[in-house]
């Protein structure tokens, strides 16, 4: 079939600038393009051609950043390509559905939802209803995202279909895997972590993601455990140019800790797996209703025990007690201290959780599985 995948106006595909949606599309394309003739419509980037065929996929790149401008570009593209696609798969922009439908009357439209773009602030209710009517299927990245859509628009229920995202399990590997042992040693040596138990956080340094709660949990943990270190992999720590109030706040807190708080600054998406390999325990401290953070899959593939929060879709990929623990009250730093202590004080449990994480990643969260699920919706 001839398939058009329409990305968002924010970041380019392939995911040269990162981004969860872009990573998702990049991850499944090699498998999807094996079976179908695929065109990816997305935004331009100085490092990418405006129109190219790469790995059997045609990429067309148009101006973006501002939604209305991007929408104009999408419309123009479809005007120039009438009746060219059997399926049009739109990512996370329900507001593109009606304009697309007006130009592609015969195509089947599939919508993938990665967050709350059906919320009343983001789309008028009457338009949302028409969108739900027009699309054949709505794929969501977690049950939580689906529940939220259903709560607002019960008529969407029969069209919803959760397809969890995935991870490259050959790139994200446990630190004790032969391919990663040296990397683990090197990272730990470079950052003075050789004898430490490394707690890892990866994500935006913003209030939503709760890194401040982790720092505030450290004094409690320091009473029980020696040689702890907290590593924060987040892009906006170092750059003087963009120090946000939140980063300033957690820097101020970190400075007064007995436990070292290591901050990496921006880590290129290609190198992020090295930090997972260097860590011993992964924590997602989100305090907001998060769709389902990608970091869970990456931590699983890296064979780490996971502490996450009962917010949004995050707990859906954790089997409590098997590959991690779920913090129900993430506003409170003591809750993190308690969950982390529980894992750190039982080495057998900690090891088992890490192994289970890796097993889950390999059996359930490879890109092949994600692509197969998408194919079954298409076909």
């Amino acid at each position: 079939m001839r398939v058009l995948m329409i990305c968002t106006e924010k970041l380019p595909v392939p995911a040269v600038k990162g981004g969860a949606i872009q990573t998702y599309i990049s991850g499944v394309l090699p498998h999807l393009s094996f079976y179908h003739e695929i065109t990816v419509l997305g935004i331009e980037d100085p490092s990418l051609e405006k129109d190219e065929i790469r790995d059997n996929v045609r990429y067309v790149r148009i101006p973006g950043k501002i939604f209305d401008l991007y929408k104009e570009g999408v419309i123009k593209f479809l005007e120039n390509h009438p009746d060219s696609f059997d399926i049009i798969h739109i990512f996370n922009r329900p507001r593109l559905v009606l304009p697309v439908r007006s130009l592609a009357t015969n195509a089947r439209i599939i919508l993938s939802m990665h967050n709350d773009m059906f919320h009343s602030e983001k789309i008028p209710a009457d338009e949302a209803c028409q969108v739900i009517e027009e699309v054949e299927s709505i794929i969501t990245v977690s049950d939580y995202v689906g529940y939220e859509i259903k709560a607002l628009f019960p008529q969407a229920a029969t069209k919803l279909n959760t397809i969890y995202s995935g991870v490259d399990t050959e790139r994200f590997l446990p630190g004790n895997d032969a391919r990663m042992e040296n990397t683990r040693k090197k990272v730990r040596k470079d950052y003075g972590l050789e004898n430490k138990t490394v707690l890892l956080f990866a994500g935006r340094l913003s209030n939503n993601k709760g890194a401040d709660r982790l720092i505030r949990a450290l004094p409690i943990l320091a009473k029980k455990f020696k040689n702890l270190a907290l590593v924060l992999v987040g892009s906006n720590w170092f750059s003087e140019n963009h120090v946000t109030d939140f980063v300033a706040y957690i820097r101020a807190l970190a400075k007064r800790q007995a436990v070292p708080v290591i901050t990496t600054g921006f880590v290129h998406p290609d190198e992020i797996q090295n930090w997972y390999a260097a860590a011993d325990l992964f924590i997602c401290s989100s305090v907001w209703q998060e769709p389902l953070a990608r970091v869970h899959y990456e931590a699983m593939a890296a064979g780490l025990p996971i502490v996450t929060t009962a917010r949004g879709g995050n707990p859906e990929v954790i089997i409590e007690g098997e590959n991690g623990l779920i913090v129900r009250d993430p506003e409170n730093p003591e809750s993190f201290a308690k969950a982390i202590s529980q894992i750190l004080s039982d080495k057998t449990l900690m090891k088992k959780m890490g192994e289970n994480s890796r097993k889950l990643a390999v059996s359930l969260y490879k890109w092949e599985r994600v692509a197969e699920d998408i194919l079954s919706v298409w076909e």
């Binding site: 100085p46 950043k65 602030e121 401040d212 750059s239 140019n241 300033a248 706040y249 101020a252 007064r256």
Partner: protein
């Protein structure tokens, strides 16, 4: 033009950084290239203001066509296009007292260079600050009202990133409340510093004020006001005061419009008046009334907007504004003089509540919003 990307230069490790008017050489080159696109010749140019942490600058340029200002706007291009569109609308359509934009040879109102928006405007030479007394303050309030009235119904160009705070009031109030907790946690972590104890006391006092203001907002006509399009309310300046509102030909001129955004207009008015009250060391009912009246003459306040103004006043703005940068360098900030400053704000706050109570019902006979 080379495709260099302009970045903030506050982190440049150079001696030149001691100079407030330092701008990196590559940006000076871009500035010259930008000026070549205009139909005048440049006699000389001097940097008059910079934002090194954000990457913005203003030059005064003497040209064959008289003095101009050249501005490098630090915001994202789409955002800058929103504010430039506003400046053009206010000047050309509404004949407001804002500096006219000078067009390029191609008739464009701005130039994109180094990934940022640049533009040239007329340099308004004869501006003087309003006198620092009640009369001057009233002139500023009146001028602000005019600005708000004239900016109503501004429609941004298609390629602009719409700047609106109209629907973000709850978030803003929640943010202040959240930061009260940050202040507390920092004060506890730095409990050996002179200002940490006064800071903790102030948080205990002001956090309930922030909470009460949020509750008032949630039970106010705010939601009803949201039924209008954002442009109905016009633009707030966001940084209006004695320097960005000055007296000139015809009345108050308003400059530096780069941060304009749709919002309920009382946000600007609250900032202006609360700053004046802070400077005058206590809240004076007569002044409050006169300032609000002066504004009302230029841009009549409905009953609902007056209520919104009262809610805005009830936030601990004066405390928040003065300590919100705390996290950036607590060891420097939490010193004796900050302790004294916090002490003073606490004292001043005691005069705020009786004054607000006295004027709370002033608008009860005014008509409601259309």
């Amino acid at each position: 033009m080379k495709s260099l990307e302009i970045l903030p230069w506050a982190a440049d490790e150079t001696e030149l950084m001691r100079d407030d008017l330092y701008v990196p050489e590559y940006i000076q080159y871009i500035a010259l290239a930008v000026l070549k696109q205009y139909d005048f010749s440049v006699r000389c140019m001097n940097v008059v203001a910079t934002k090194p942490k954000k990457g913005g600058a203003i030059w005064k340029v003497e040209t064959s066509e008289g003095p101009k200002s050249l501005k490098l706007l630090h915001r994202r291009p789409g955002r800058s296009i929103f504010s430039l569109g506003a400046q053009e609308y206010l000047c050309d359509v509404k004949k407001a007292r804002v500096p006219p934009i000078v067009k390029t040879k191609d008739g464009q109102k701005c130039v994109l260079a180094g990934g940022k928006i640049w533009f040239v405007a007329e340099w308004i030479d004869s501006l003087t600050p309003a006198p620092p007394d009640l009369e001057g303050a009233k002139q500023l309030c009146y001028g602000l009202g005019e600005f708000h009235r004239l900016s109503k119904n501004y429609q941004a160009p298609l390629n602009a990133e719409i700047a609106s705070r109209v629907r973000k009031w709850e978030k803003t109030y929640q943010k202040m409340l959240m930061k009260m907790d940050w202040f507390r946690n920092i004060a506890k972590a730095y409990n050996d510093m002179p200002a940490s104890e006064p800071l903790l006391q102030a948080v205990e006092l002001f956090e309930p004020h922030a909470k009460a203001a949020l509750e008032k907002l949630q039970n106010s006509p705010y939601r009803k006001l949201l039924q209008y399009e954002d442009s109905h309310w016009g633009l707030v300046h966001q940084d209006y005061g004695w320097s960005n509102g000055q007296l000139g030909k015809g009345g108050v001129w308003i400059i530096d419009l780069d941060g304009v955004s749709y919002d309920l207009p009382v946000r600007d008015l609250r900032k202006l008046i609360s700053g004046i009250m802070l400077d005058s060391l206590n809240w004076n009912t007569d002044w409050l009334r006169e300032l609000i009246r002066a504004y009302h003459e230029a841009n009549p306040l409905s009953k609902e907007l007056y209520e919104m103004l009262m809610i805005e006043f009830s936030l601990p703005n004066e405390f928040y504004r003065n300590v919100k940068e705390l996290g950036y360098n607590p060891e420097l900030f939490l010193n004796e003089s900050t302790a004294a400053m916090i002490e003073q704000i606490i004292q001043q706050d005691k005069t705020k509540w009786p004054a607000l109570k006295e004027i709370a019902n002033d608008w009860k006979d005014v008509k409601t919003s259309k």
